[in-house]
Assembly symmetry: C2
């Protein structure tokens, strides 16, 4: 029981979900957690700011150690609980190289997804340009084709960095789930669709599925035409 | 001698510099390397694309293992050469937590620096807005104050995550150096200025200093008023 850990999180946030999957994979259930609302701006509340001066979720604490950045928390948990639960960084140099490489390419994927689905959220109305959104969409398509190719090369039934589930899946899967929640077509992106289907029922992922997605299983259609 | 390693890099790129510092810290001198020109678009050359489908620098290969993302390469080098050169991830949970946390906050710092100094490079002329650049500058100031506070709290003569040089310095220092190269005032940001002065002559950093900065020691003044 991880009673000395506290996670402040928001539903549907890929960064929060990464940390929750890592906690599950390391058998660290039973941590203290509090679901906060982005809509109500609770990520800017004093409770969050006390742990995280950026006013962002996740905010995560283990004892006195504060590790708010989602990738930082994933590395920390894997390192501190190396022999507990599933090993998330492979030992073999080749598998390890691919795990790290895909993990960090996952940040480019996440950024490009955000450039489309959060465009109106981040760009004030008077600064929006159809040309910019069009370019962001093209960049996302290029990015998605790259990942289709990566997964295809690894072969059917593979995880994102090979035959073993790893930190690359912990960090990349939530973004892939966001893509499909926002309407990405599994017909147009069949390899990503297969990867999504392979992982969505994994216990660590199912246990941490964004609760508000369960209420709205239809999702959105922002990415339908991508 | 690291003859089984190849690095394609560009001068003044913080991501490239991170990998070069990590190589120096791990005593991996003697690797093959090739300096390419961003101005001449050599990062989009076939030579790069063969290793890195994104057409980005750094592009890095160790034997058959390709690790292009700079953070991925840093983790890979530290893990594969753990007992060689300087240890870059501390063992103590508290120091490790802070190392990871600052490392990944370093990505926010880098992004905010880029939002100001590369604004015209990334945003087509017809999409530029004074209001956007002003907001980016304000975000950078907020970010810089955060780091001033972090370093101040650790006390004079500290590295970015404590008393020991770590991967957090490997990844964050190049961004700090970019700030001063682009004119940041050490009078206005004295703690960052002290950190910069502390590290700039460290052998790993001096050995990998961007060559075109040596030719243009005056730098630019983009950030003079920040």
């Amino acid at each position: 029981m991880a009673k000395d850990m506290t996670l402040l999180w928001g539903s549907g946030s890929a960064p929060c979900w990464r940390v929750m999957i890592a906690l599950e994979e390391k058998n660290l259930q039973g941590y203290n957690h509090k679901l906060l609302s982005f809509d109500k701006m609770e990520h800017k509340s004093q409770e969050v700011l006390d742990i995280n001066p950026r006013g962002q979720l996740p905010s995560f604490k283990h004892g006195d150690n504060i590790v708010n950045e989602s990738y930082a928390a994933c590395f920390y948990l894997e390192s501190q609980f190396k022999s507990q639960g599933n090993r998330l960084i492979p030992d073999s140099p080749a598998e390890q190289a691919l795990t790290y490489q895909r993990m960090f390419e996952g940040l480019a994927l996440y950024e490009k997804v955000g450039g489309v689905i959060y465009y109106e959220y981040y760009v004030p109305e008077e600064e929006r340009h159809d040309s910019a959104l069009k370019r962001n969409k093209e960049a996302l398509v290029t990015e998605l084709k790259l990942w289709e190719g990566y997964l295809k090369k690894l072969g059917s039934g593979s995880f994102v960095a090979g035959k073993t589930f790893s930190l690359a899946d912990v960090t990349v899967f939530p973004t892939v789930a966001v893509l499909f929640q926002f309407g990405l077509s599994a017909e147009r992106y069949p390899v990503l669709g297969e990867y999504y289907a392979l992982l969505k029922d994994r216990p660590s992922i199912k246990a941490s599925w964004p609760p508000h997605w369960l209420e709205n299983t239809k999702g959105q259609d922002t990415l339908k035409e991508i």
